[in-house]
């Protein structure tokens, strides 16, 4: 068949399809009537794909082929790109998917925890015995700043001498802390080295400041300040790092896949972990801005809240989302 005849014969079908696409795109959806019902779309699309194959095979002109290609691509995106809600929404993610995801990848979570808490605990303890170690890692200036922030003489904590608005601090924590989390994640792409570096770097920083202030006798202000948000903030950063380590591990040990395929396969889980971790850090910033900085509640209460949050968080990650599996087990036992 000659091109001209081919075009004449199917021209109307193509225009209808094109018109249908433009309606879907939202252009005056109410005024224009589609040329065919939605249920016919797959059939129409297949017909169009057939026409494209024919046009290519018969070496018809480029413009005709380009036009058919555009239509087929748009149809392909509509049919195969339809978003489907796998997993059933946010609540299900929190109750089931997320803790399961974290438990599945407990190895990277463990490694990330060691990278952060290892140097933190070692340095904080060591400084109690040899205070000068602090000056190896942080400059005298930085330490003096930290000292000033947690001076028991302050009305507000963690924010320098001039008491500033809670909202400002909240904004700063959001901006700063979530970025640190994302850095830990993204650093994983450098074969995991970046993630490990950022985790250790933050562990050292926190450990030195904590050790230094405790040794100075500022424990009540410092530990009282960090207690409330420490669970969610450190937990969030550990999980960001763990997500980053997943990427790094996929690159280092791709198994039987190519490195690229292995990396792609690892991202869904890694990004899933990142979603939750970023949310945790975001919530931690609220606590840090509005609860931790306040000197109103007695320090014992702050410790209690801090311990309670740690307890709740660990319980959540260890026990949440196991019921679904148990139900399945019960069913298989019964049968």
């Amino acid at each position: 068949m000659q091109q001209e005849l081919f075009e004449k014969r199917y021209q109307d079908q193509w225009s209808e399809f094109d018109q249908w696409l433009s309606i879907d795109a939202g252009a005056n959806a109410t005024t224009v009537k589609p040329g065919f019902p939605t249920s016919e779309l797959p059939q129409r699309y297949r017909q169009l794909a057939r026409h494209l194959a024919l046009a290519r095979d018969r070496q018809y002109g480029s413009e005709l082929i380009a036009r058919l290609e555009r239509l087929v691509l748009a149809g392909h995106q509509l049919l195969y790109g339809a978003s489907h809600n796998r997993g059933g929404g946010v609540l299900f993610f929190i109750r089931q998917t997320y803790p399961q995801l974290v438990r599945t990848h407990w190895r990277s979570v463990l490694v990330a925890s060691l990278c952060l808490f290892g140097p933190l605990i070692v340095l904080a303890s060591a400084i109690q015995f040899v205070p000068d170690i602090a000056y190896i890692f942080l400059s005298a200036n930085d330490l003096a700043n930290a000292q000033q922030m947690y001076d028991p003489a302050n009305r507000k904590l963690g924010a320098g001498r001039d008491a500033s608005s809670d909202v400002q601090m909240w904004g700063m924590y959001v901006w700063n802390n979530v970025r640190i989390g994302f850095q830990c994640f993204a650093g994983g792409l450098l074969f995991g080295v970046g993630a490990i570096f950022f985790m250790i770097f933050n562990g050292v920083n926190i450990g030195v400041v904590a050790g230094h202030l405790t040794q100075l006798g500022y424990s009540e202000t410092f530990w009282g300040f960090v207690a409330g948000h420490s669970a969610l903030e450190l937990g969030g950063i550990v999980l960001c790092g763990a997500a980053g380590l997943q990427l790094g591990y996929a690159l280092i040990a791709p198994g039987r896949k190519t490195r690229l395929e292995s990396l792609k396969a690892s991202t869904p889980d890694a990004v899933g972990i990142l979603y939750g971790a970023a949310t945790m850090i975001f919530i931690a910033a609220f606590i840090e801005g509005f609860w931790s900085a306040s000197r109103l509640p007695p320090v014992e209460l702050k410790y209690a809240v801090g311990i309670l949050l740690w307890f709740l968080m660990l319980t959540y990650f260890v026990f949440a989302g196991r019921t679904y599996r148990q139900k399945n087990k019960g069913a298989s036992n019964a049968s």
């Binding site: 194959a53 809670d166 991202t267």
Partner: protein, 258 residues
């Protein structure tokens, strides 16, 4: 291997071509986006400055949300394009040509942090130049490509309609006596129809210059006459010849070429 189109196979057995966008087009889109955000920050900052430290805090939170969520929200909800990409006729798709979803968008935009290292998208640029789809690291991990959006083409048959006048200038007897050289291969025929399709975009002189590349088909004609002759040939190839015979071929017999 030097060309940029990327071919994806569909379940229907046809192959679709995506036109991959290069580094420069993407950088341009990024700069436009950066400017848009910058202007927005200035406006927002000025407005919130009135609220002192409270406003400062809100500003930082907005800054955070915009900086990280701006590309993700636009890519997911606006057909894979931020305003900058849209202005440059680009969009982000999954590797298989489907529209980008949340997971891929979050991945590629969070990993910007690495692409940006050591400064000004250094790693991203190196990664782009090392693979044939111009993917930065975030695209590699997320399985996404940045492509040119196919623009709506001009009305069909422009080749045959707009040059009708030019062809009609030929004497009728020449038109009737015109025979197609039997030895033209499919891709040679294709070249001639492409010539006809693109004729409208060239000046007369340029068209004549291009036509002169095929002296064996022009039987000694030059200039406008040579162009007209090629256009006539294109019309013959695309359908003016032996319509009756051609229409007997059924379109239901499809030959799918691997």
């Amino acid at each position: 291997m030097l060309d940029t189109p990327r071919v994806i196979a569909t379940p229907e057995g046809v192959e679709l071509t995506l036109n991959i966008a290069g580094v420069v087009a993407r950088a341009r889109a990024w700069i436009i986006d950066a400017l848009i955000r910058f202007v927005f920050y200035i406006v927002l900052g000025t407005a919130l400055a009135a609220f002192g430290r409270f406003g400062m805090g809100l500003f930082l939170v907005m800054l955070f949300l915009l900086e990280w969520a701006y590309p993700v929200l636009f890519e997911v909800y606006w057909k894979g394009a931020t305003p900058g990409k849209r202005a440059c006729h680009l969009c982000v798709l999954h590797d298989d040509g489907t529209p980008i979803g949340w997971r891929a968008s979050v991945t590629r935009n969070t990993l910007r942090a690495v692409d940006f290292l050591p400064f000004c998208y250094g790693f991203g640029l190196i990664a782009c130049l090392l693979n044939r789809d111009f993917k930065r690291l975030g695209d590699l991990a997320a399985g996404t490509v940045v492509v040119y959006v196919a623009r709506r083409s001009k009305p069909l048959f422009s080749a045959n309609q707009t040059q009708a006048g030019e062809v009609d200038n030929l004497a009728m007897d020449e038109w009737r006596g015109f025979t197609q050289p039997a030895s033209l291969l499919l891709n040679e025929q294709r070249a001639i129809t492409n010539f006809a399709e693109r004729r409208a975009r060239w000046s007369d002189a340029r068209a004549a210059e291009l036509a002169a590349h095929l002296p064996q088909l022009l039987s000694g004609k030059e200039g406008a006459a040579a162009v007209a002759r090629l256009l006539t040939l294109a019309r013959k190839i695309t359908g003016k010849r032996s319509e009756g015979v051609a229409s007997n071929i059924s379109d239901n017999h499809i030959k799918i070429v691997g």
